[in-house]
């Protein structure tokens, strides 16, 4: 089954951020190698004489990827909603990665503001991708208001600590079997992405892990295969862990069998 966001299908299970790369060319190469079809971007102040935004726009258009604009850095409902409005016009998309930040040190979501902003934006026809915690009550509200995608954090943004709370993430997946789930934030290396997909998550969203890797392009390729492996393993249905050993080699016919009895 392919990945579906708001009725649209995608073959890649990677959503890739566009910030912090050593150069625009390295970013472009990393995007190509990763095979991703969705890029995240932001809206930021543009000085009249500065053309950074225009150059960036031109570059990401060349990739042919869908753009998922974010409300990164917003701390209030009003800021997030206004930023979403500006993003919709700028990127000509109803998609919005909704972030309402609650703490500067952990960048964890302000779930109260998140739910309120999501309600407003869903009512206005946005396709909201909420960056949230693994709190089931919060997530239920988001779904009730119309979110068809949920994006719980793996660990704090940019920390590279992977999936901090496997129990909570498993519960989250089990509780929302029919919602597209994306691990957003905290992915540090390829195995974290594999683990997310083995848990049954539909995709991962990451930026720093690729952009700040020693070799961004190689890491982008590593994620491509990691996600492929994780999804395959999930579909193949892994064995259940056991406490004690069980020989894989047949016992019957073992040479010297019972000779020590």
């Amino acid at each position: 089954m392919s990945l579906v966001f708001y009725g649209e299908s995608f073959s890649s299970r990677l959503l890739l951020g566009t910030a912090q790369y050593p150069s625009p060319q390295i970013m472009k190469s990393a995007i190509e190698v990763s095979g991703c079809e969705i890029l995240t971007a932001s809206v930021r102040r543009e000085a009249a004489k500065g053309r950074d935004g225009q150059k960036f726009w031109s570059l990401i258009q060349q990739t042919g990827c869908r753009i998922l604009p974010n409300t990164a850095g917003c701390k209030s409902v009003q800021e997030a909603v206004t930023t979403a409005h500006m993003a919709r016009e700028l990127f000509d998309t109803p998609w919005i990665k909704l972030e309402v930040i609650g703490n500067d040190d952990t960048l964890q979501p302000n779930v109260f503001g998140l739910v309120e902003a999501a309600k407003i934006l869903c009512e206005e026809g946005f396709n909201v991708f909420p960056y949230t915690t693994t709190d089931l009550g919060v997530a239920e509200k988001l779904v009730d208001f119309g979110c068809q995608v949920l994006m719980p954090w793996g660990s704090p943004i940019g920390s590279g600590r992977g999936l901090n709370d496997l129990y909570a993430l498993r519960s989250f997946r089990a509780h929302f079997p029919d919602i597209s789930l994306v691990i957003d934030a905290g992915i540090g290396t390829a195995s974290h992405a594999t683990q997310a997909l083995e848990l049954g998550y539909d995709a991962v969203l990451l930026n720093t892990a690729v952009a700040k890797a020693g070799d961004s392009v190689a890491m982008a390729e590593a994620f491509k295969y990691a996600l492929f492996a994780g999804r395959k393993a999930f579909e193949a249905k892994a064995i259940n862990p056991r406490d004690m050993a069980m020989p894989s080699t047949p016992v019957v016919g073992t040479p010297f069998w019972h000779t020590h009895d």
């Binding site: 790369y21 995240t40 971007a41 102040r45 543009e46 000085a47 726009w57 990164a72 700028l90």
Partner: protein
């Protein structure tokens, strides 16, 4: 009159948002704007009249995660 654009105070003779954007030199750049904290669509720039103390945000697509 004195207004704030992207957090910086400046004096302008522009009477509306469309004129302001033009005078500031944004030209055909891909931008979006907010007026006193609320989004203003491009089509409404000309109808958005400026007054002393107004707060304008002008943004563009940028890198993000």
């Amino acid at each position: 009159m004195k207004i704030t654009v992207n957090g910086e105070s400046q004096v302008t003779q522009a009477s509306n948002l469309q004129e302001l954007v033009k005078r500031l030199g944004y030209g055909e750049s891909k931008i979006a704007a907010a007026f006193n904290g609320s989004f203003v669509p491009h089509s409404q720039y000309i109808n958005t009249l400026l007054s002393e103390g107004d707060d304008i945000e002008i943004v563009a697509p940028m890198q993000g995660g």
